[in-house]
C-alpha cells in the first residue's frame, strides 16, 4: 500500500447513526471498507477485510472496544486501533490504550482532524488528545511512588513531559515542534515513547486502572 492512497478503515460502533455520520465526515479522506456493530461482527469483519486502521468505539455491549482489541490482536498484529469515544473518564482512556490502541480521540473531533489522526495511527505513531495528555501527566506525576521497579518505564523524561504539556495545551504536533524548535518527527518519537511507557509501565496508578477493567488479573 503506497502512502499516498487513502487508508483502508473499518468503523466499529454499535450506533448506526454514528457510523454513517463518521463515514460522511471522513468523505474521500480515507477509504471506509467496512462497518461493524457488535464485537462478533467486528472480529469477523477485521479478519476478512484486513484494514489498516480500525476506528473503535470504547463502549459497546459484550465487552466493548477492549474485547475487540484483545481478540483481534490474539490473531494478528498488523492492524492499528484508534479509539473513538464520548467518554472522557480516565479509566476508559487508560484501559483502551493499555490494551493496545495507538490513540484516543473524542467523538466531537472534526472530519479532517480525524482523518489526520487515522493517517498518524496508520504510520505507526501515537495520537494523544489534550485530555489524554493530561491524564498521562497526572498518572506519571512526580510523586515518589511507593514502588517503581523500573524507572526506565515508570517515569517520563523532561522532554516527554514538555511535549505532553504542549499537547494538553491544545497544540497540534507540528505546532509543538515549532514551539520547542524540534522536528515533527522528534515530537512523534516522544509521543510514541510515552505510549509505550503507558502500555508497559507497572506504575501503580496505571495498574489500578488496568485492574479495575480486568486487563490484568489481580494475582
Amino acid at each position: 500500500m503506497s502512502p499516498t492512497s487513502p487508508a483502508r478503515v473499518v468503523i466499529v460502533d454499535d450506533h448506526g447513526l454514528f457510523r454513517s455520520g463518521v463515514r460522511t465526515e471522513l468523505g474521500d479522506l480515507v477509504e471506509v471498507v467496512g462497518e461493524a456493530a457488535t464485537v462478533e461482527e467486528a472480529v469477523e469483519c477485521i479478519a476478512r477485510l484486513a484494514p489498516e486502521v480500525v476506528l473503535l468505539d470504547v463502549h459497546m455491549p459484550d465487552g466493548g472496544g477492549l474485547e475487540v482489541i484483545r481478540r483481534v490482536t490474539a490473531e494478528s498484529t498488523a492492524v492499528s486501533f484508534l479509539a473513538l469515544s464520548v467518554s472522557d473518564a480516565a479509566e476508559d482512556v487508560i484501559a483502551v490504550i493499555r490494551a493496545g490502541a495507538r490513540g484516543y480521540v473524542t467523538k466531537t473531533i472534526s472530519g479532517p482532524d480525524l482523518a489526520a489522526a487515522i493517517e498518524r495511527v496508520r504510520a505507526g505513531d501515537a495520537v494523544f488528545s489534550p485530555r489524554l495528555a493530561g491524564f498521562v501527566l497526572d498518572a506519571f506525576a512526580d510523586q515518589p511512588g511507593p514502588a517503581e521497579p523500573d524507572p526506565e518505564l515508570d517515569q517520563l523524561t523532561a522532554r516527554e513531559r514538555e511535549v505532553l504539556r504542549h499537547i494538553a495545551r491544545g497544540y497540534m504536533y507540528k505546532e509543538v515542534a515549532l514551539r520547542l524548535d524540534i522536528s515533527a518527527k522528534t515530537v512523534e518519537a516522544h509521543v510514541s515513547a510515552v505510549l509505550r511507557k503507558l502500555q508497559l509501565s507497572n506504575r501503580h496508578e496505571l495498574s489500578r486502572w488496568a485492574m479495575q477493567h480486568r486487563l490484568v488479573d489481580p494475582e
Binding site: G134, R165, L178
Partner: protein, 394 residues
C-alpha cells in the same frame, strides 16, 4: 484441621477458629463427645463450597450402604471400648450424642433449606434467594425435622442435668444454667443468622430500587427536558448546540459524581465552572484539562480570576474560530494556566491602553500576587495567555 469443621464453623459465626478448636478439644478431653460432634459436623454441615462431606464421599449411588457400614463400624468400636472399660459414664456420652445429632439436624435444616442452598453461595442471585428464603424453612417436612432436632437437644440437656443431679446431691445451678443456654444457642443460632441475612438482602433490594428511582428522576429532569427544548428550538442550530453542550457537561459531571455546585474548595472544579459559564454565555466550546489540583488559596484565586478574564476574551474575540483550550497544572511549587484560542491573534505589544481586561484583570492581577502573565501568538495561529504563580508552602 482434619475436615475443616472448626474453621468452617468459626467462619460462619465470625469468630477466631482457635476458639472453636479449643471448645472441641475441651469437649473431647472431658467426655469424648467433642470427637463425636466433630465427626457428625464434618459429615452433616455444608462446606464452603456448598457440598457436604457426606455427598462428597458417597458420590450418589451406594451411599446408603456406606452409611450403614460406617455406622456399624462406629457401633462396634464403641462396644469394644465399652467392653474393655475405656468408657466414660453413660450419663455423659448419650446426652452428648443426642445433642450432637439434634444440633446437626437443626443446622442442616436452616443452612441448607431446599431451594436456598445454591442461592446462598451466589449472592448475585438475590432475587431468587429472597423468593425462596422465607417459606423454605417453614415447610412441613423441614419443620418436623427441626422439631426432632429441638427435642433431641432438649432431651440431651435434661438427661445430662438429671444424671449430674443424681451424682451431686447439691445440684449445681450454674452448670444447669450453662447447659440450658448452650442448648438454646444450638437451637436458635441458625435462626438468628438466617434472619440477619434476610434483613441484609431486603435492605440491598430497597437501596437498589431507590437508586433506580433516583436515576429515573434525574434523567427526567435533565436529559428529557433538554431533548424537549432541542425539539422546540430545532430551527436555531447555535442554540441547539449550546443546549446539547450544556446537557453533556451536566451529565458527565453527574456520571463522574462531581458535585457541580461545590466549586469553593478546588481550583480544577472552579475552572470547570468558569468554562461552563463562558460556554453558556458565548456559545463556543471551552476544553479544560487539569493536572493536579489545590484549594482556592489567595494565589489560586488570583490565577482563577485572571484565567476567567482570559477565557472570556478568547470566547469574545475568537470563540467562533474553534475550541478554546485551557490547561492548568498544579505542582507543589507553582500553578500554571494556559488559555489558548484559534482566533486571528493580536500583537501583545500593541494592546490598546483602554483594554482594561488584559492590562488590569490579567497582567496586573498576576503581578500583584507575585506571579506573571504573558501573551503570545500561539504557534500555528491564535493567541495563548500564560499565567504562572508560585505557591507558598502549606
Amino acid at each position: 484441621m482434619i475436615a475443616g469443621v472448626c474453621s468452617g464453623i468459626a467462619e460462619r459465626l465470625g469468630i477466631d477458629p482457635i476458639i472453636v478448636r479449643l471448645a472441641f478439644l475441651g469437649a473431647t478431653m472431658l467426655s469424648g463427645a467433642g470427637l463425636l460432634a466433630y465427626a457428625l459436623a464434618a459429615v452433616f454441615l455444608p462446606s464452603a463450597q456448598g457440598d457436604r462431606l457426606w455427598t462428597r464421599f458417597s458420590g450418589g449411588r451406594g451411599s446408603l450402604e456406606i452409611a450403614v457400614g460406617a455406622g456399624l463400624l462406629a457401633l462396634s468400636g464403641v462396644l469394644l471400648l465399652r467392653a474393655t472399660g475405656w468408657w466414660f459414664s453413660d450419663a455423659i456420652v448419650w446426652p452428648a450424642v443426642a445433642a450432637a445429632v439434634g444440633g446437626a439436624l437443626i443446622w442442616h435444616q436452616f443452612t441448607a433449606a431446599p431451594g436456598d442452598g445454591t442461592a446462598a453461595t451466589a449472592p448475585l442471585d438475590q432475587e431468587a434467594q429472597a423468593e425462596g428464603a422465607k417459606p423454605s424453612f417453614l415447610r412441613g417436612r423441614a419443620l418436623s425435622k427441626i422439631g426432632l432436632g429441638i427435642a433431641l437437644v432438649l432431651g440431651a440437656a435434661l438427661m445430662f442435668l438429671w444424671a449430674n443431679g443424681a451424682l451431686s446431691a447439691a445440684g449445681d445451678a450454674v452448670l444447669a444454667a450453662t447447659v440450658v443456654v448452650v442448648a438454646l444457642g444450638l437451637i436458635f443460632a441458625p435462626l438468628w443468622w438466617r434472619l440477619g441475612r434476610n434483613l441484609a438482602t431486603e435492605r440491598g433490594e430497597r437501596i437498589r430500587s431507590q437508586e433506580r428511582a433516583e436515576l429515573g428522576a434525574h434523567l427526567h429532569d435533565s436529559v428529557l427536558q433538554t431533548l424537549a427544548l432541542v425539539q422546540q428550538r430545532a430551527g436555531n442550530p447555535r442554540e441547539v448546540a449550546a443546549l446539547a453542550r450544556r446537557q453533556e457537561r451536566e451529565l458527565r459531571a453527574w456520571l463522574q459524581d462531581r458535585p457541580s455546585a461545590r466549586t469553593g474548595d478546588s481550583l480544577a472544579a472552579a475552572l470547570g465552572a468558569v468554562a461552563a459559564d463562558v460556554e453558556d454565555a458565548h456559545g463556543g466550546a471551552v476544553e479544560v484539562v487539569t493536572v493536579g489540583d489545590c484549594a482556592l488559596d489567595p494565589a489560586a484565586d488570583a490565577v482563577l480570576g485572571a484565567a476567567r478574564e482570559a477565557i472570556l476574551n478568547a470566547a469574545k474575540f475568537a470563540g467562533a474560530a474553534g475550541p478554546i483550550d485551557v490547561f492548568a497544572e498544579v505542582t507543589p511549587a507553582s500553578i500554571e494556566v494556559f488559555v489558548r484560542d484559534r482566533g486571528p491573534g493580536f500583537d501583545p505589544n500593541v494592546i490598546p491602553v483602554d483594554r482594561h481586561g488584559v492590562r488590569e484583570s490579567i497582567i496586573g492581577r498576576m503581578e500583584r500576587h507575585g506571579g506573571s502573565a504573558s501573551l503570545r501568538a500561539g504557534a500555528g495561529g491564535g493567541t495563548e495567555v500564560e499565567l504562572s504563580v508560585g505557591r507558598t508552602a502549606g
